[in-house]
C-alpha cells in the first residue's frame, strides 16, 4: 500500500531539476568518444579489408626483405585509444587542473574558470580550485571566476613559482633576484607579504599538510624547511642520496618530506632520524615525486630508453611497482586523494600529452588511461597542479 510519504517521494523525484545543457553536451560527447571504433563490420567487408591489408603488408615485406631492413612485430590486438581533447578537461571528482608548459598556462576548474595558452611564468590552483595564482612578469596575480575579487601584487623580481598552502590561507612563492632567488610568503587575500629565506634554488616550494611549514631547496642544494610557527629553519643534507635536491614534495596527509635528487630520492620522516634513501643507476634521471595513498611514493624517472613511474613503499623505499614507457616524462601530479596520477608525456617532437595513467604495477607498461589535453610545446618540464 502506498503511503502519503511514498507518494510525496515519487512526486519530489519527478520535480527534480535537470542537468545543464553544458553538462549534458559534455557527457554526450565523452560517452560517444568512449564507444570506441567500430569493431563489428560485416564478414564480407572484413574479408575485403583483410585481403587488402595482407596484400599491402606482403608487398611491403617483400620490398623491405629485399633491402634487409624487415622488422616484423606481432603483438596483442591494438587497444582502443580515446581521442585526446584539444581543451583541458577536469577529471571526475576533482575541482580543477592547471598545466604550465613553455611559459603558457592551460587551466580548467569545476567552477567555470578556463584559460588556454595564457603567457605566465608559473601557476597554481588553490586547494579547492576556487582561485588560481599566476606569475606574470614581476607580479603575482590571483584569478577567480564569478564575483570573487582578484588581486595583483607587484614583486621585486620575476615570479618563478608559487605554492598554495593546504588550508588555502597562504601562498609561498619564489622571486628571481640577482645572484639567488628569494622565498616569500603572502596571505591568500594579497595582504602582508614577507621574506622568508633570502637565498634559495629555483625549486617549487612544498607545504606541510598542517600549513605551518614550507619546504624548499637552499642555495647549496640541501632540502630545508621553514617553520612558520617558530620562525626556525632546518636543513637536511640529502646530497648523499644522489646529489643536490631538485624537487621537494610533502605528503598531503603526513609530515613526511620526499626529496628528489639528480640520481635518487630521500624521505625525511623525522628530523632526528636518518632519512630513508634510494639511489638509482647512473643513467636514471628522476624528474619529480608525488605521494600516493598509504604513504607510498611515486617517482617519475627518465632514462635514455624512455620514462618510468616507480612506486616506492615502506620505510626502506622498496620498489612496489614500476610502469615503463618509451617516451620521456615531462611532469607529474598525484590526484588530491592520492589514488591516481597525471603525467605529462612526450608524444613526439614538440607534442606533449597530459593524461591520467593507471597505477604502476611491477613490470607494467605505462598506459595513458584518460587523456586530459594535448599541447604543442618544446618544454622539457611541464608543471601540473591537480585539485
Amino acid at each position: 500500500m502506498s503511503t502519503e510519504l511514498e507518494r510525496q517521494l515519487r512526486a519530489g523525484f519527478e520535480r527534480l531539476p535537470k542537468p545543464t545543457r553544458e553538462a549534458s553536451a559534455r557527457a554526450r560527447s565523452a560517452a560517444l568518444a568512449a564507444l570506441g571504433p567500430n569493431n563489428r563490420r560485416s564478414r564480407g567487408g572484413l574479408l575485403l579489408v583483410a585481403f587488402a591489408v595482407a596484400f599491402v603488408v606482403g608487398a611491403g615485406a617483400a620490398a623491405l626483405a629485399a633491402t634487409g631492413n624487415l622488422d616484423v612485430r606481432i603483438g596483442a590486438r591494438a587497444q582502443t585509444v580515446r581521442p585526446v581533447p584539444a581543451r583541458l578537461s577536469v577529471p571526475p571528482g576533482s575541482h580543477g587542473v592547471a598545466v604550465v608548459a613553455g611559459g603558457k598556462l592551460w587551466l580548467a576548474t569545476r567552477g567555470g574558470l578556463r584559460i588556454e595558452g595564457m603567457p605566465v611564468s608559473t601557476a597554481e590552483l588553490s586547494p579547492r580550485a576556487l582561485y588560481a595564482v599566476v606569475g606574470i612578469g614581476s607580479s603575482l596575480v590571483t584569478l577567480a571566476p564569478g564575483k570573487r575579487r582578484p588581486w595583483v601584487h607587484p614583486t621585486n623580481g620575476r615570479v618563478i613559482s608559487a605554492a598554495w598552502s593546504p588550508d588555502g590561507l597562504k601562498i609561498a612563492y619564489l622571486v628571481a633576484r640577482p645572484g639567488a632567488d628569494e622565498l616569500r610568503l603572502i596571505e591568500g587575500d594579497g595582504s602582508p607579504d614577507r621574506l622568508l629565506v633570502r637565498r634559495v634554488r629555483a625549486v617549487r616550494p612544498s607545504w606541510r599538510a598542517d600549513s605551518l611549514a614550507v619546504a624548499y631547496v637552499d642555495l647549496r642544494g640541501r632540502a630545508a624547511v621553514f617553520d612558520l610557527s617558530t620562525g626556525l629553519r632546518r636543513t637536511f643534507d640529502t646530497r648523499r642520496c644522489g646529489g643536490a635536491a631538485r624537487d621537494v614534495a610533502y605528503d598531503r596527509r603526513a609530515p613526511a618530506l620526499a626529496v628528489v635528487s639528480a640520481h635518487g630520492i630521500a624521505v625525511v620522516r623525522r628530523w632526528n632520524r636518518p632519512a630513508a634513501c634510494a639511489t638509482l643507476d647512473g643513467s636514471a634521471s628522476p624528474l619529480a615525486a608525488g605521494w600516493l595513498e598509504r604513504g607510498q611514493i611515486l617517482l617519475a624517472v627518465n632514462r635514455s630508453l624512455g620514462g618510468s613511474l616507480e612506486r616506492l613503499s615502506g620505510t626502506n623505499l622498496n620498489e612496489a611497482g614500476a610502469a615503463l614507457g618509451r617516451q620521456g616524462l615531462r611532469g607529474l601530479a598525484t590526484a588530491p586523494t592520492g589514488s591516481s596520477v597525471a603525467v605529462a608525456l612526450r608524444r613526439s617532437a614538440g607534442v606533449v600529452d597530459i593524461a591520467i595513467v593507471s597505477g604502476p604495477e611491477l613490470g607494467g607498461r605505462l598506459k595513458l588511461n584518460r587523456p586530459l589535453l594535448r599541447i604543442r610545446t618544446a618544454a622539457s618540464a611541464v608543471s601540473i597542479t591537480w585539485r
Partner: protein
Amino acid sequence: MRMCSDAKLVELARRGSRDAAAELFTRHWRTAWRAAYVVTGRREFADDVAQDAFERAFAALSRFDERRPFAPWLHRIVVNRCLDLLRTERRLVAGDAELARLEWHDVSDGDQELLDAVAGLSLQRRVVVVLRYGLGYTPTAIAELLGIPTGTVNSRLARALEELRADYEVNDVDRA
C-alpha cells in the same frame, strides 16, 4: 532510432552505430543524472558521476549481456560510481563543512526539505530510496541490481521510510 527498443539500440551501438548510442544516451541521461544528483547531493558530482557512468557503460558495451535490460546495468554503474566518489571525498575531507552542505539550489521549498531528509539517510538507505521512488524499481529488481537479498532491500526501505517519516514530518509540523 526513436522507435527502437533499448536492446536493439545496444545491438546497433555494439556494431558501431553512433546514432544508436546517441539515442541510448538521450533516453537514459536525465534519469541517470537525477539519481546521481539525489545520491551525491551536488550538481557538479552528479555531472561527473553520470558522465563517468556513461563513458564506462559505452566503453564496456562489447562485454554487456544483450539478453539483460540496459537501464538497470547503467543504474548499477551510476550507483557504484556515486558510492566510490562519496567514500573518496569523505576520506579526503572528513568533516569538511563545504562538502557536507548540500546544494538544492533549484528545487521548491517543500521538495528541498524532502531532499534534505533523503540526504540525511545513510548511503545504503539513500540508494535504495532513489532506486525505488526515483527510478521506480521493484524491491526484487533493486536486490538484483545491487546484488543483495530482497529481504535486505525491504528492510532498508522500511527503515529509510521510518526515518524519513520522523524527520520530514517533524519538519512539516515545524513549517505549520
